[in-house]
């Protein structure tokens, strides 16, 4: 097979129409035209086989399992930093051999803090305090102590305690 097949020059090859053909994205007329071309062009026929193989491989990839309790902890606002060693693939344990990246922690914290904060907003003050305070000692002690003190004095249910909920995201470095 040569790139310059006399029956169909390079410009006439089907190219990305082959993927569209496999995906059922061609009109009936274009499909018929493509099939007629394929019958006479070994270059395109070979490419169709190769593209079809890649497509089959990709579509056969298994679902990926998040680390255990990932979403529940996310909802509870207590996702820990990192999760090295978790198994990503439900049925393909060998993808667990991938090594987690070690870079860009600041951005991870940015995202994680954001979700934690959005959980915090939805949570009862007391729950937020119990979950959040131990995770953010570097920046939150003064605020945390204030909230805890306030909590002790005022108690849950007092309208003022709503303010404590509202300021908790500050404690998450937002």
């Amino acid at each position: 097979m040569t790139p310059d097949d006399p029956r169909a020059g390079p410009s006439a090859h089907l190219g990305d129409a082959l993927s569209a053909l496999l995906d059922g994205e061609l009109s009936d007329a274009d499909t018929a035209e493509a099939r007629a071309h394929l019958a006479a062009c070994p270059t395109c026929e070979a490419e169709l086989g190769a593209i079809g193989q890649a497509r089959t491989w990709l579509r056969g990839l298994p679902p990926v399992e998040p680390p255990a309790d990932f979403f529940e902890r996310l909802i509870a606002g207590s996702v820990p930093e990192r999760s090295a060693g978790s198994v990503p693939e439900r049925s393909a344990g060998h993808e667990a051999t991938v090594t987690p990246l070690s870079g860009a922690p600041s951005q991870r914290r940015r995202w994680r803090a954001g979700v934690a904060a959005m959980s915090a907003c939805a949570a009862v003050t007391v729950v937020v305090l119990s979950v959040a305070a131990p995770h953010d000692p570097p920046t939150s002690p003064p605020l945390g102590r204030f909230i805890v003190a306030h909590e002790t004095e005022v108690g849950v249910g007092d309208p003022v305690s709503e303010l404590a909920t509202a300021v908790v995201p500050v404690g998450f470095q937002r």
Binding site: D16, S19, A50, W111, M118
Partner: protein, 174 residues
């Protein structure tokens, strides 16, 4: 679901967590980045739920996920100093033994690694097509690109992936 038919972000996390995580993992190629991406997606889900019209939730989530992923890609490109070092998980593991099932699992990791080496734009289109199962029209809408560009990216992505896997000696061309 709430009475309005619009789910809360917590419900989305519980009902579509694995879907979200699978898409995020296929896009990012590792657990840490997948977790960060999922959290960013849930932040956007929370913000966007008020304007979400009950319908194709997975389509909506896929759009948010790919946009968040591409935003992250652009963010990294603007900050070359913070670009991650060589990513260890992108190194293909050695092919193991004669066990067919084991080989299939390893090959799944090989496909993921090859997927990770595709240009981001190709990978996004391929994931939306072959992992999520979207039509070209849906992908064009999600990525806000012309239909012809979708077709071209999917085709080139598949072709590059197949070439990488075959030339890398991880699977025979047949």
């Amino acid at each position: 679901m709430a009475g309005s038919g619009i789910p809360t972000w917590e419900e989305v996390a519980r009902s579509h967590g694995r879907f979200l995580y699978t898409v995020a993992y296929r896009l990012t190629g590792n657990n840490d980045d997948a977790q960060d991406l999922v959290q960013e997606v849930l932040l956007r889900v929370r913000k966007g739920l008020s304007t979400y019209k009950p319908g194709n939730l997975e389509g909506w989530l896929s759009r948010i996920t790919t946009n968040a992923f591409l935003d992250e890609v652009r963010w990294r490109r603007r900050r070359p100093a913070e670009v991650m070092a060589d990513e260890p998980d992108r190194v293909l593991p050695p092919t193991v033994g004669a066990d067919v099932a084991l080989e299939a699992e390893v090959f799944s990791a090989d496909i993921q690694a090859a997927l990770g080496r595709l240009p981001d734009e190709y990978r996004t289109a391929v994931v939306l097509c072959d992992v999520v199962g979207h039509s070209y029209e849906e992908i064009a809408e999600s990525l806000d690109i012309p239909l012809g560009t979708v077709r071209s990216r999917i085709h080139r992505g598949r072709a590059q992936l197949r070439k990488a896997l075959v030339s890398g000696g991880h699977r025979d061309a047949g």
